[in-house]
Symmetry: C2
Subunit: 496 residues, 2 copies
Amino acid sequence: MASSTGDTEKLPKKIYDAQVATLREELVQLQVELKKTDFKIVLILAGVDGAGRGDAINTLMGWLDPRGVETIALQQPTDEERERPLMWRFWRGLPTSGRIGIFVGSWYTETLREEARSKKALAELDHELRRIRHFERLLSDNGTLVVKVWFHLSKAEQGRRLRAHLAHADTAWRVTDEQQRAHRIYNRLATTAEHILGETDRPGAHWDRIEAADPRARNVNFAGMLVRRFKEHHRRYTNKKHVSPTKPKRVVALRPDGRKRLLSLELDRKLSSKAYEAKREKWLGRLNRAVRRARDAKRSIVFVFEGQDAAGKGGAIRRLTGAIDARDYRVVPVAKPTDEEKAHHYLWRFWRQIPRDGFVAIFDRSWYGRVLVERVEGFCHPHEWRRAFEEINDFEEQLIDHGSIVVKFWLQVSKDEQLERFRAREETPYKQHKINDEDWRNRAQWSAYETAVGDMLALTDTAPAPWHLVPANNKRFARFDVLRHACKQITAALDA
Amino acid sequence: MASSTGDTEKLPKKIYDAQVATLREELVQLQVELKKTDFKIVLILAGVDGAGRGDAINTLMGWLDPRGVETIALQQPTDEERERPLMWRFWRGLPTSGRIGIFVGSWYTETLREEARSKKALAELDHELRRIRHFERLLSDNGTLVVKVWFHLSKAEQGRRLRAHLAHADTAWRVTDEQQRAHRIYNRLATTAEHILGETDRPGAHWDRIEAADPRARNVNFAGMLVRRFKEHHRRYTNKKHVSPTKPKRVVALRPDGRKRLLSLELDRKLSSKAYEAKREKWLGRLNRAVRRARDAKRSIVFVFEGQDAAGKGGAIRRLTGAIDARDYRVVPVAKPTDEEKAHHYLWRFWRQIPRDGFVAIFDRSWYGRVLVERVEGFCHPHEWRRAFEEINDFEEQLIDHGSIVVKFWLQVSKDEQLERFRAREETPYKQHKINDEDWRNRAQWSAYETAVGDMLALTDTAPAPWHLVPANNKRFARFDVLRHACKQITAALDA
């Protein structure tokens, strides 16, 4: 753990001014260079109450070019935030590549506070800390420079400051009730903080401690730390061989069993028009009731539709939405990421679309693109799609921990059936926009996709978020199967 | 008011299918063409309960390419929405240029419901309708195609539908309590709707009525209406002479009195270092109390800082934020709009940053760029900046109506003082990024900017959102003046 030595002597103004002049040059240079990179800086400032976090940020902001930096000030969660998994609000605030995001209040704020004050059970704290470690690793794996700074102040110094402020009518406003309370339980807070800092000090997410007794020294150490961390990170990041990912010659299965499950599907299961008509309204009614029950229980539902081109995802989604109040759901068609989305972690655009409690989001393609098209086409590096399985499982676990119901469908058609549908699309004027060269190219990679899908099924088929495989050669059967399974899984989750 | 004739005979399936095939081609074509334009389509669907709005949207969505369209489903406002002006949630949902946004639930939903059920005073309704008309005109002035469709259904037909659904166990779920209530008060709702439709049927925001008794006819008429409206709009839009705006040869004042006010400022007012030190903490304390009072009263504060280059906006903002809890405020530096921002109305990016109740937003430059740099540099057409004065006044009025406190500063330095500051910036290494050719170019236009500022002061200095002019040749005086005026205006607003 890095640490700066506390200095009881104050930094003289003259030396401070000279250091500041140099630091400001370095900070401006940092921002110029950062802008050219494709990573971002996430800066978290925590510390002992009264150590001057606000002042230090204010000072730092004065030294930086404001156009490349943003502060993310977090107060009590809003209802839109409470109605989504814990980390949603932090994802929401992440800066884009080339920028600095300073979190004033972070994923540590509640953890640091609650533990000391309510003696939260250790198990629960451990769970939170695991979540934090995972999140920071995900950021750092993605190239983000995570700078975490802890301002230290002794109990004696904290007391001196409070008394000095309270002694003058002009400055007494600077002391809040919360600060006085924090002073009284200084030792307990310090013990907790020590534990939390220790448990979250990891490669790629180090804690830097800065002595905050002298504001001048604190400010220059703080800014200096940022500059130093950036330089190290920039060097390491630049020295890494940044070979552009290339299309793999062959897609080799990680888990051949997944593909077996796919191949054993009986694709030609049929449903007659009559049988479909007879059952449809009843099952739509069931789905409608299930969704309303979920809404009343404030549980959100996340549908994931994956499948080959022309497997019938769109049609199945439209049948499904026929049973849901238009105000309660949102269909999210997933295409190529926009520029803004590309300047974020690949999961960012999906976090953005996570529904509020009681609402339904239907993803027409999804985060699984990372382990399907991106893997097969070589749009990302092998280490990126390899770690995606765990990242995705963790993402879905967060949804489920929060109370969401995650329903995942893979629609499978045979190669012949796809060909027939492609041809029909080419022949029907209003369907021509649905077919392009890319579809034909994907088709040529049939076997590679089968392998990738197999791995996906084997590695992300979790108990709370299982994959349902839909034989989709017959559209009626597929639509009915989707409808019926959706009812069943939602009802089971609500009854559990 | 456009209107389609109701047809009691049902559209035969065969004819329907043929019409659908043509319509789908036209819709796909529409989307291809829309994508090439720089306008968007905002589609609002309202109508009698049970007329099948959900079905119709579902059907239309099935015919459109989902990647170019989004539905904005609005439920009860969330607290993040309630804590901002009424229209915030609608601004939030607007699509970008080249896309279609379908509002399921719109700015009409509450208006249509509340009036009928609680007999809201006519004055209040009129105010809401004025707000709606203004918003739709703003959209339409900006080139947006606003399509508003009303689904009509007679009381008898509505009753027949409810009874038919209720008669079968499989379909009874389609009837909600709300629909049954709506049937009972059909006439009252119809009268209200008639009034509202009449008052909001304006050029650029017409209501189209569609008879919804026959679902097939309804669907094709609905989609056909969209196609027709698009074609008309596209033709009119394309035929308009789209001359790129050019830099005006001379900036001619609309209101010479505004400039006089600027010129009469005594720019050299000074404050000694001693006097400043003596007063600063006291006034920071006052500001801190005022901001906490506002927070407790759930009033947000919007600071606007405008001024010439190097007038000291950044410094004044940093002194101000020294008194505010870092979690309570956000500084919004306004630079060139991003691509996403450019694909929206110019006010969109500011609406985005409107603070929640109790919070503070500090704009370092603002929406006034429209009537300053955009006017002087010819970045927008004269008719655009001319109508901006009213748009801006209306925008600020919405903030104030909601309870926000709007504090606007213009920092004015003399031409000589600016020159000295520019030179100092060029000579200090860490300040060099703050000065570029553009600053020198703006300086060359000193008089043109004076004229534009004068018009701005004359036309947007409203009683609830006045401009405070700050003589800024002396930095200490300027900072102190900003601090003192902020305290005074906030306190006065809270005491009012």
